[in-house]
Amino acid sequence: MSIWMIIVVVAYLCIIGYLGFRGYKTTKSATDYMLGGRQVHPYVMAMSYGATFISTSAIVGFGGAAGVFGMGLLWLTVMNILIGIFIAFWVFGGRTRKMGLRLDAHTFPELLGRRFQSKFIQGAAAVIIFMFIPLYASAVLTGAVKYISSQLSMDYNTALFIFSVIIALYVIMGGIKGVMYTDALQGTIMLFGMLALLILTYTKLGGVTAAHQSLTDMAHLVPAKLQAGGHQGWTSMPKFGAPLWWVLVSTIIMGVGIGVLAQPQLAVRYMTVKSGKELNRAIPIGGVFIMMMTGVAFIVGALANVHFQQTVGKVAIVAAKGDVEAIIPMYLQSAMPEWFSILFMLTLISAAMSTLSSQFHVMGTSLGRDLVEESMGRKQKGGGVLATRAGVLLGILISVYLSYIMELKFGKTGTAIVARGTAIFFGLCACAFLPMYVGALWSRGITKAAAIAGLLSGSLSSLFWIMFVQEKASTALLVCSKLFGTRSLAIQLVDGKEVFAKTGPMVWAFVDPLIIGLPIAIVATVLVSLFTKKTAAAHLDFCMGKKK
């Protein structure tokens, strides 16, 4: 570790500390603590949304996945920009902001609860968030701390402790203002880091077309196991309907691409700005930001194959000894100049901190505001800020405990469970909240009972799929193998060999929970709406601004 690295890290932490303190000084009410007083600048809002969305795992984990799957992952970037930013801000953002204001909602569960006049919905949504987000947070935390401890030559537990305490301080004290100010700075650092990475990579490999061509020419080097799964080269999509095609399209592209719309920690950001103008201004900032994050990570991840082939005569996944997450760090170490490692370390610390701070904040508001204050009716002084701060602290403790104990106690199994955290949370949120959220914003016909039916059927069906069918998750979670003696109900053992259940092109064990849970939740929501008591017209007029 060089003296420069220490100086840069200390300076970075001082600025983060200052921004957190600024958030603290300007936070006076519950609206300040939860929504930044609904007056947040569009640059801060867009960068905060983007930086929260993009964690270390989006860069290192998914970048590594691009090293395996190739540039087909760029479809996820297209989804991220078009759905995650453009549709999200333009279509969802404006309505969410207005309805949130009319209903005086402070959190995502509160918006849904008040729209459907149901304390149960607010409470249940809060429970889902509070139960599952620690797993997502510990996935991000574990990844970040591993990277930091290796870069700064620190012990894993010491790094975990210091890193968590810093985030805890500015989230608990500064509320969403502390979170969003620091996010904006972190997002800006991430932007420079990724831009430098893209330019350096293309320059090194002889330019855009030459780099891609070298990757295309390596198609015959795809390892046999990947070829058997349908891999056709790093600049081609996998064979339609093959296992790798399902993983790429259903889990990576659709699961994450659509799942982003119903993420509570992201949706709450629309309510932090003053008017529709700010949302429009946030679109270009967010769009370019996301392209520079996932787009660059996927291009560089795929092109790492060319670098490793030229230097060590191996493709990326073989050079990384099968560890997908090691591809990007190894590439940086062997291909990038030394000054870049400092910039990139800050980029990754920023990516992790910005995601974590929002996760902790949303855990706190779920517990403090949604569960204790509203759902259980225990009103307190300050609109639930105290309970929210306690909730943030509890959420942090659970996440840190998970990051600490999982690897220590369960070894590789623990790591595998934590690694599934991001995908599990994304899928679960989409199935549980998306139909109800869309209904809340646009439909006068979706009833309270229907919203509850969608919430329960979506969350339960996706949880079932996660625990018992989707092989990646069910293998890691172990519940299926303990109960039924097989790692997935869609895999049968025939003469000691695994046979995957299929229906047409559907290889069930590789289908993402979203593909199953979301349609079930939509059908349940629509069907129950047909037979249950309609919401009072006056309430609907109020929510939707008297528009029939």
Partner: protein, 58 residues
Amino acid sequence: MLGIADPWVALAYLLCIVSALLCLVWGIIKWNQDDPETEPEEEIRQWAEEEDRVGEEL
């Protein structure tokens, strides 16, 4: 195209750039434009602040 073998992947590559440009152009055109459906937002905002204040005092 661009040295990419599969037209679907090349399309994704181009769409990344095009969609980011779309966001950029959209933002520039709509820079000063609020939502078309105008409503007395200040009133609602004041009401929401009042609600918060009452709630916190309680």
